[in-house]
């Protein structure tokens, strides 16, 4: 079954189906993270004692992770540009870098979690740590999903580069939009959980 406007833009809406679909998906994601941030605001404003966040968590680790994730967004854009320009090798390089940076983010996150656990700081310790683990955990799942998508585009999915390069480039762009969103969520999580 041929579905129209999968790769061509529908003239009166100016959109392709996947472009609209991913933005709707992200709208839903905004509501998910928005609900979690609202829970944070309500619990913190109603609490009698809230720990000094930057003393509990490691700001240097988080700063490093911020740099890693923003860099991965840049390599993601470069991968898309390469795919658009029809340069498969350059696409593979930058997509590979994005994947490595995503993995680096997860490793740093794992070290951080492990550090907390080894000091007896658990989700059940207080609501701040509970929210920290829940919110960064949900975010980490999103990073993992993005890595799976990126890995698919890097290896098995890139066969489409030869058969239908326009559609493949669109897929990279859609994956990129999602990846940037995950990045943006972190940019909100970092100050709210580590600095405020």
């Amino acid at each position: 079954m041929h579905i129209p406007y999968t790769t061509d833009v529908r003239p009166d809406t100016g959109l392709t189906n996947p472009k609209l679909g991913i933005w709707l998906f992200l709208a839903s994601e905004v509501m998910l993270f928005g609900s979690l941030f609202s829970a944070y605001a309500l619990l913190r404003s109603g609490s009698t004692s809230w720990p000094d966040q930057s003393a509990v968590l490691s700001v240097p680790f988080a700063t490093l992770n911020t740099v890693i994730l923003i860099s991965s967004s840049i390599t993601m854009v470069l991968a898309w540009v390469a795919a658009k320009a029809g340069e498969l090798r350059r696409f593979r390089l930058f997509m590979g870098l994005t994947l490595v940076l995503g993995a680096a983010f997860m490793v740093v996150k794992a070290i951080e979690y492990n550090d907390k656990f080894s000091h007896g700081l658990l989700p059940s310790t207080d609501n701040f740590l509970g929210l920290y683990f829940t919110m960064t955990g949900v975010h980490a799942i999103h990073v993992l999903v993005g890595m799976v998508v990126n890995a698919y585009l890097l290896w098995p999915g890139s066969a489409m580069f030869r058969s239908d390069s326009v559609r493949f480039t669109n897929r990279v762009e859609i994956a990129g939009i999602y990846w940037h969103f995950v990045d943006v969520v972190w940019i909100f999580l970092f100050p709210v959980l580590y600095l405020l």
Partner: protein, 567 residues
């Protein structure tokens, strides 16, 4: 051969999968309430016939234990709302009809569509499976209020949370698919204001699903952390259980759950009702042979409803001690949201005026929807005002109110839809009219006998969710006798559903007796011909146009040469 339907990405097959699965869950949810009604009318007496099958842990000797009664109540609500009505209204009718009505070859994302069905299926399996885990299914009401739900023993509540996460993800995939399909895949000439009203209703519903459900997703994650990782998001400091102080960090807020739950919960009410309104609009205009009265007004009302449904949620929480300023705000928005609902209902009633009505079986259900929804809506007004809500809160009055909206309201609309579109879905088979009429009359009478006395009981102060139906309360004694006819009517309602079930399966195997367009409908799903060649020339409901040879002009029929180009 049969199995191939379970991984087809065709929207019609997926729609039918959704349809049969959700009808099954409606039957399951209804069976639970038949047990509840037995217990309410004859508390402490063994359930006849099936009492022995309920398990010794749930009903020793066939007598329903209070713990099991609570499971029945919680799971009846959950199954009916999340596994029955919404998947039938949105998953089944939406999937089957939206692409056909807008002239699209399929949904925009066929594989996501199939994934949506499978997440729904898994969510449903988890919910049903939870009855078998030690301690049984969730038993904290369908609203799962903490701290009770946080601290409930056993794993039933955790399974409930896992099931909800699957269902929410399923509806997310469905919703973004519906919106993309409607925006992108309308056939040439199918402009926004040529969309059938049903498509508009599904469009707004999809936005509600997309944007409201994530709040419950977040809430379910937080409650899951509370239950599994020992956090205290919903557990305040100093909580004592059975006289013992609870060993948690504390500092949580039980009202946080209520806010997140009702931020979903209130838009969910409109998810339940809008597709029903869409179906009723289609059936009424087809059977009155008249255009829909106030089509554009109704579409604008849908948007107002959809928007306002996000700012009324705390009217479920007047009893939580919120300040007068906040409750004044939510009372005001609640009163305002009744206006577009009344606009839509009035337009549907005005559509009847001056029509030559065909009293077909689907039309009977659609006509009954109007006053039944009216009763449900009007009895909601006292619940939207804090002063009157506080004494009525958590009584049977509330139960009567929302059941009027959903049972003889939405479910009647869904029955209307099944009888109406059955020939389209089965390639020219009609459902039996006599059985359909018996089903209609029996259901209408039984539902009213069940739900009308609930208002009386509620006004007398009888609470909902009481294991003995209020037998130990002095103030309930005068209205307690109503429980017997109510329960009899519930058993009668079960009996009359047999006419529907038999009719459905007999008709599925029956002969193909009618043409492609047996009702003489104008919308595209009834018109045959290749989708690729489809072009739309007309508004959706061009019935009884003066001077035309037929009393209906399908949307894809071009203008006669004398009237010039329509576009």
């Amino acid at each position: 051969m049969f199995l191939k339907h379970f991984y087809s990405t065709d929207h019609k097959i997926i729609g039918l999968l959704y349809g049969f699965t959700s009808l099954f869950f409606l039957l399951v949810g209804f069976s639970l309430v038949v047990l509840i009604r037995w217990q309410l009318a004859y508390p402490g007496e063994p359930v006849p016939y099936v009492g022995g099958l309920l398990g010794a842990a749930n009903a020793p000797g066939g007598v329903i234990l209070p713990e099991f009664y609570n499971q029945l109540g919680a799971m009846h609500g959950t199954i009916m709302v999340f596994l029955g009505v919404v998947p039938l209204a949105v998953g089944a009718f939406g999937n089957y009809l939206i692409p056909l009505q807008i002239g699209a070859p399929d949904m925009a994302f066929p594989r996501l569509n199939l994934a949506s069905y499978w997440f729904y299926f898994v969510g449903g399996a988890i919910m049903l499976g939870s009855f078998l885990v030690p301690g049984g299914a969730a038993n904290n009401g369908w609203t799962s209020y903490p701290p009770l739900s946080d601290l409930a023993p056993g794993n039933g509540q955790t399974w409930w949370l896992a099931g909800m996460l699957c269902l929410i993800f399923s509806s997310l995939l469905g919703a973004l698919n519906f919106i993309t399909t409607i925006v992108q895949l309308r056939a040439p000439g199918m402009t926004w204001f040529r969309l059938p009203f049903f498509v508009w209703a599904q469009f707004v519903t999809a936005f509600l699903l997309l944007l409201a459900f994530p709040a419950l997703q977040a809430a379910a994650l937080l409650q899951g952390m509370d239950r599994l990782a020992g956090t205290s998001f919903f557990l305040p400091s100093g909580l004592a259980v059975s006289g013992q102080p609870l060993d948690v960090a504390g500092g949580g807020n039980a009202l946080l759950w209520q806010h997140l739950f009702w931020f979903l919960g209130h838009p969910e009410v409109y998810v339940l009702i809008l597709p029903g309104m869409g179906i009723v609009a289609e059936v009424i205009t087809n059977n009155t042979r008249k255009p829909l009265w106030g089509y554009r007004l109704m579409v604008y009302s849908l948007f107002v409803l959809g928007f306002l449904s996000f700012v009324v949620w705390a009217h479920h929480m007047f009893l939580t001690g919120m300040g007068t300023v906040i409750s004044a705000f939510f009372q005001a928005t609640t009163m305002i949201i009744s206006i577009p609902s009344v606009v839509i209902l009035s337009s549907l009633i005005l559509s009847l005026y001056g029509g030559s009505i065909r009293f077909t079986t689907p039309m009977l259900f659609a006509l009954a929807f109007l006053p039944m929804f009216g009763i449900g809506g009007l009895t909601g007004l006292p619940l939207g005002l804090a002063t009157t809500d506080i004494p009525l809160h958590d009584t049977n009055y509330v139960v009567g109110h929302f059941h009027y909206l959903v049972a003889p309201g939405t479910i009647f609309a869904l029955f209307a839809g099944i009888y109406h579109w059955f020939p389209r879905m089965t390639g020219g088979r009609m459902m039996n009219d006599t059985l359909g009429r018996i089903h209609f009359v029996g259901s209408l009478i039984c539902m009213n006998v069940i739900f009308l006395p609930m208002f009386v009981q509620g006004l007398a102060g009888v609470n909902r969710r009481l294991w003995d139906g209020g037998a130990v309360y002095a103030h309930a004694q005068e209205v307690l006798s109503l429980n017997i006819p109510m329960s009899m009517a519930a058993f009668g309602l079960a009996f009359f559903q047999l006419f529907f079930i038999v009719n459905l399966f007999l008709s599925l195997r029956g002969p193909r007796t009618v043409t492609d367009n047996p009702w003489g409908a104008t919308t595209l799903e009834w018109q045959t011909g290749p989708v690729a060649a489809l072009r739309v020339y007309r508004d959706p409901y061009e019935y009884s146009v003066p001077g035309e040879p037929t009393d209906f002009l399908p949307q894809n029929v071009g203008p006669a040469p004398r009237s010039g180009p329509a576009e």
